[in-house]
């Protein structure tokens, strides 16, 4: 368990905070301070909407250390509404109900339980969209 590393990534993991390139407008996740599209410095934070769709997925039966308590779990590539393709777990869904192209939304969940004594690591996962009208409602 690396406390400083998890602490540094909190904004990214809790809220899906990335960056936007002020020069070309590309939305960047995770934050990398240089725009992968136009190579300009990009340091303006942007909280992503959390909406996206399943690009591809698999089921993990043999998890890496630290994830044992959640296995088997579904790992997916999510195409975010703003463009970036990210890796994340799916939650609140069974593997036989997942389809490529399925609309999903970000939720904050336990990613590592920390055992009885360690810190709990929270972060983004995705689940099937719960409430369709929230999608359609304009942001005020």
């Amino acid at each position: 368990m690396n406390i400083p590393r998890n602490w540094r990534l909190q904004q990214q993991r809790y809220r899906l905070e990335g960056e936007v390139c002020e020069k070309c407008g590309a939305r960047i996740f995770p934050a990398r301070d240089i725009c992968p599209e136009c190579e300009a410095p990009a340091k303006t934070p942007l909280v992503f909407s959390g909406k996206g769709e399943v690009y591809s997925y698999t089921t993990v039966h043999t998890p890496p250390q630290g994830f044992e308590e959640f296995a088997p779990y579904i790992l997916a590539l999510i195409q975010l509404e703003e463009g970036p393709l990210i890796t994340a777990q799916l939650t609140d869904v069974d593997a036989d109900h997942v389809d490529i192209g399925m609309p999903v939304e970000m939720v904050t969940r336990k990613v590592q339980g920390g055992g009885a004594e360690g810190p709990i690591v929270y972060g983004y996962k995705f689940r099937p969209v719960l409430h369709a009208t929230v999608h359609a409602a304009p942001h005020e």
């Binding site: 904004q11 809790y14 909280v47 044992e68 990613v111 929270y122 996962k125 929230v134 942001h139």
Partner: protein, 355 residues
């Protein structure tokens, strides 16, 4: 009227600007508990209870409820929230606040108060009461009060049928921005040893039948009557009443004793489908009622926490409710999102069984 029976009312009027519920998707039917522990004999106090998934706890559930409350409020900037208070008896850490994690996730940090509240099942309304004072005194414009639990029960105990998971978040602010305005509140607290959990114990203990008359009924009715007497209201003035719901029987019979009709009770009664969600119990009932409420409706909310005490609140719904109801998932949408599990899956999900 003497000062000791005067209702609690802030300097500046305060209301609910946004609210949001959360219930996990898993359900354990009461007949499963009965199958394992009584051979299927005996009645069950409810139909089924909600169970948190393996990656859920009071932190993650509070974050989702808080996001729903913020979506309804359409607050321009979450940094305006000057307090994030989470009431629960299942905080994931013994030492380290739930509330700082929730505050960080919703973007309320760093210029905010954050604290975890404890008072058995009324920790959530305790936070609500404090938030009214915090805003009503002018110290803050917005404050977030959450009641959320993943309730624990000893395997085979009567509580195992009902100890559920869920709750609701309330963003409080000035009355003029609110979807429902607090008309007043009133609390009734005594030292009553009906239910407790000692330090380092996994499961609570209780006084069996002692949890009824001298505990739940006495405090709920005293707080409700005290508030209505002071406000000069009667049960007929309210469209809805929401009481703490440890099982299906208690709230119905307390409401009847107070003079309310089953019609006034039914929309806020979720216990049969999600169980007793402890600090979230009365607050999620209120969320279900706000999903249905119309401008002008009056609501009575009364919590109960073992140990023991009740907080009663009278609310008047405003025009703002109409456009805000649909901005986030409705409470009944969470209740309807239902995946039934068996007792074995339940003991794995709730950590009663580990590899």
């Amino acid at each position: 009227m003497s000062d000791t029976t005067t209702i609690l009312r802030p300097e500046h009027p305060v209301g609910i600007v946004g609210y949001g519920a959360y219930v996990p998707r898993y359900r354990l039917p009461a007949r499963e508990v009965s199958r394992v522990w009584t051979g299927g004999y005996g009645g069950t106090p409810i139909k089924e209870k909600s169970v948190p998934g393996p990656d859920e706890d009071v932190v993650t559930m509070s974050i989702e409820a808080a996001r729903n409350a913020l979506a309804r409020a359409a607050l321009p900037d979450p940094a305006l929230i000057r307090a994030v208070w989470v009431g629960s008896e299942s905080h994931p850490y013994a030492v380290k606040p739930t509330s700082t994690i929730v505050a960080e996730a919703i973007g309320a940090t760093p210029h905010t108060q954050a604290a975890d509240w404890e008072f058995a099942c009324k920790a959530g309304t305790e936070a609500l009461q404090a938030a009214i004072g915090f805003i009503g005194s002018g110290m803050a414009r917005y404050a977030l009060a959450i009641g959320m639990d993943t309730a624990q029960a000893r395997p085979g105990d009567a509580l195992e049928y009902t100890a559920g998971a869920g709750g609701a978040a309330y963003l409080l602010g000035p009355a003029e921005e609110s979807l429902a305005v607090f008309e007043g509140s009133f609390s009734y607290v005594t030292d009553t040893p009906d239910f407790w959990r000692r330090a380092y114990q996994h499961y609570p203990s209780h006084g069996g039948r002692f949890t009824g008359q001298p505990a739940y009924f006495k405090h709920i009715t005293a707080a409700a009557r005290g508030l209505m007497d002071a406000l000069g209201t009667s049960p007929a003035d309210y469209t809805y009443v929401v009481l703490h719901q440890p099982n299906a029987k208690f709230p119905k019979s307390a409401a009847k004793k107070l003079g309310f009709t089953p019609e006034q009770v039914k929309d806020g009664l979720l216990v049969n489908e999600i169980g007793n969600v402890y600090a979230g119990s009365s607050l999620i009932g209120l969320a279900a009622v706000l999903d249905e409420a119309r401008p002008g409706d009056r609501l009575l909310l009364v919590s109960y926490g073992s140990g023991a005490g009740s907080d009663a609140f009278s609310l008047r719904v405003t025009e703002a409710i109409v456009e805000r109801q649909g901005r986030a998932p409705l409470t009944r949408e969470y209740v309807a999102r239902r995946v039934e599990i068996d007792y074995a899956t339940y003991v794995r999900f709730t950590g009663k069984l580990r590899k």
